[in-house]
């Protein structure tokens, strides 16, 4: 029988391994091995047939505690958020079942066969699109984060909230969104000169509506049909979601049904009463769309404890900016007295999660761990003190200051404000 080269090589390796064994052990011990019952010494996973195939894979039952943390209104269970467990995850892509949620009145059940998108208002010809039609347009993919404008809002309070990192800062997730560039559809309908804004409306039980500058839709906006390669999850906008890279979550309208081109914003509740930032003088910043640079050490973080003293720990976290690429993440173990550059996982993408890491040798001393992101506009993530000096304590939205974890001498981690 002819042997292929690879096979021969394997045999050769096998042979050397065996000869090694011959060299190391005496014959009697080898003979004794024939009496061994391998079922007793091997793990059960190797001695009995495994489970069945599955039509749609699920996480290991051993990981059943890795879940989104739900905070909803008891009188209105469809109103609230669920936090993405970023402190339990690695890499940069958020699994679809763990992407954060913000719903205003529950997750709608929408049949894609009957759903349409209407593009109208200041256009030459109003057009409607079925989902099947949209699937025939050229698609683009964009890896980007989406962050709720209200993420981290407990950090405006005067006491730090003692909860796991992502249950205070995890209204942000990162995915590959694939769909049709919005500009194709707008151009097909014919944009009139007077059009400057677009009122986007959702088909959920809040009929959520917000106004978006036309310029953003003509820039990098995508009508997403797919999330990380599969069709959108219902809670993330199935069958159609507007994705505006780098802009606050509320503008990434889920369950999209209409884009109406207008001259001016509609002044809806979610761009006046909410998602506006109250300043110390009593005025409010409106249309604060861009999410500024931010970072979060995901491990070690609140609630974790360091088992070895002294010990080496792989400090890691996420950084992102709605204005571009993360160029640098610095890490401090002394509450911002001194900083060291962390390593950035490649590739670093614009308006997307960037994973940073740095090995850290703990000697049992009290420490305050912090990370500080810089983006390619030169913007540096501010300290909490700096942010509050500029914006006061009642902004509620857009908290992007440095987040601090205190390491006590017994190795327990707490959320603190070092200022």
């Amino acid at each position: 029988m002819k042997k292929a080269p690879l096979e021969s090589r394997r045999q050769f390796l096998h042979y050397t391994a065996l000869s090694g064994a011959f060299a190391g052990f005496s014959l009697p011990s080898l003979a004794a091995q024939t009496a061994i019952d391998y079922r007793e010494i091997l793990p059960q996973s190797m001695t009995s047939a495994g489970g069945d195939f599955s039509n749609y894979g699920q996480p290991s039952p051993y990981e059943s505690k890795i879940i989104r943390w739900i905070s909803a209104n008891p009188d209105m269970p469809g109103n609230g958020v669920s936090w993405s467990p970023l402190h339990e995850l690695q890499g940069t892509m958020t699994p679809n079942g763990l992407h954060y949620e913000r719903h205003h009145n529950g997750v709608p059940d929408i049949d894609p066969a009957t759903h349409i998108l209407l593009v109208d208002g200041l256009v030459d010809k109003p057009l409607s699109f079925t989902i099947d039609a949209l699937k025939r347009y050229p698609m683009q993919s964009r890896i980007c984060f989406i962050e709720c404008g209200g993420n981290s809002n407990s950090s405006w309070h005067s006491r730090p909230i003692e909860t796991a990192a992502a249950y205070a800062h995890g209204l942000v997730s990162n995915a590959e969104w694939t769909g049709v560039p919005v500009k194709y559809l707008l151009q097909e309908a014919g944009i009139r000169n007077e059009a400057k804004w677009v009122v986007a409306e959702a088909a959920d039980a809040a009929s959520l509506n917000v106004s978006i500058p036309l310029a953003k839709l003509l820039d990098d906006a995508i009508l997403a049909l797919y999330q990380n390669g599969e069709r959108l999850r219902p809670e993330n906008g199935y069958p159609l979601r507007l994705v505006l890279p780098g802009w606050e979550g509320i503008t990434n309208v889920k369950w999209l049904r209409q884009l109406r081109l207008t001259e001016s914003p509609a002044m809806t509740r979610d761009e006046t009463a909410r998602y506006t930032d109250l300043m110390p003088d009593g005025s409010a910043r409106q249309f604060s769309f861009e999410m500024a640079a931010k970072s979060l050490i995901t491990s070690p973080s609140h609630g974790m404890s360091l088992p070895d003293n002294p010990g080496i720990y792989q400090l890691t976290g996420l950084a992102w900016s709605g204005r571009g690429k993360i160029t640098r993440v610095q890490v401090s173990a002394d509450g911002g007295e001194s900083w060291v550059d962390a390593e950035l996982q490649q590739p670093v993408l614009s308006k997307a999660f960037t994973r940073f890491s740095l090995p850290w040798q703990w000697q049992g001393q009290y420490a305050v761990l912090q990370s500080r992101a810089t983006d390619d506009t030169g913007y540096v993530q501010p300290s909490r003190e700096e942010l509050i000096a500029k914006r006061g304590r009642h902004g509620y939205y857009h908290f992007n200051a440095i987040i601090s974890w205190e390491v006590s001498e017994d190795g327990t981690l707490y959320h603190v404000y070092p200022d």
Binding site: D75, M76, S128, R136, A273, A284
Partner: protein, 179 residues
């Protein structure tokens, strides 16, 4: 029939010829939008009410009617008198925005009264959006606004009077886009 099919064939071929050289720069796709001018005029595609009130429906209501409706449909969450419950307060705190403890209510914070009609119709009460009719929604707006004297208790709100209401915080917002 045959002619038109041929015509499409020819134009497609021409399009391909024109487009192939610049394929990377110029995506080629078939426009698949359906003419929808008929939809654009329908009420279900004109839900948004802008500050000019252009799409406000017919009907009217006042604060006394609104008080009863509020107790029936809203107080369970927003509290009796709309002062807050499991859901936020909707009234009071006018003038508090630059104080140490600012409270953002409809009456203290919202710049436009039209937004109140828009929002109640599209999402309140949460278990039954769109269940209230226009008269009822005008009445609820009148009740909420009158609680802080933004309108007088006897005012009938309708498509003409609602957009004329001046909210206390009308000039409280500054757009930071474009930066």
């Amino acid at each position: 029939m045959a002619l038109s099919i041929m015509f499409i064939r020819i134009s497609l071929t021409l399009a391909l010829l024109c487009v192939l050289p610049g394929l990377a720069a110029q995506p080629l796709y078939q426009p698949l939008g359906q003419p929808a001018a008929g939809l654009s005029d329908k009420p279900e595609w004109n839900l948004t009410i802008r500050p000019d009130g252009g799409t406000l429906p017919a009907g009217s209501g006042n604060a006394a009617q609104g008080k009863l409706l509020f107790e029936q449909h809203c107080a369970a969450c927003h509290g009796f008198g709309a002062i807050g419950g499991s859901a936020m307060p909707l009234i009071g705190e006018v003038g508090s925005l630059n104080s140490e403890y600012p409270e953002k209510t409809v009456n203290s914070y919202w710049p436009y009264a039209t937004t109140l009609f828009d929002y109640i119709r599209r999402s309140m009460p949460p278990s039954d959006p769109y269940a209230l009719n226009s008269n009822q929604i005008y009445a609820l707006c009148a009740y909420i606004l009158s609680q802080d004297g933004i309108i007088k208790a006897d005012v009938e709100l309708n498509a003409v009077t609602l957009p004329q209401v001046t909210m206390p915080n009308r000039n409280g917002f500054s757009a930071i886009y474009p930066q």
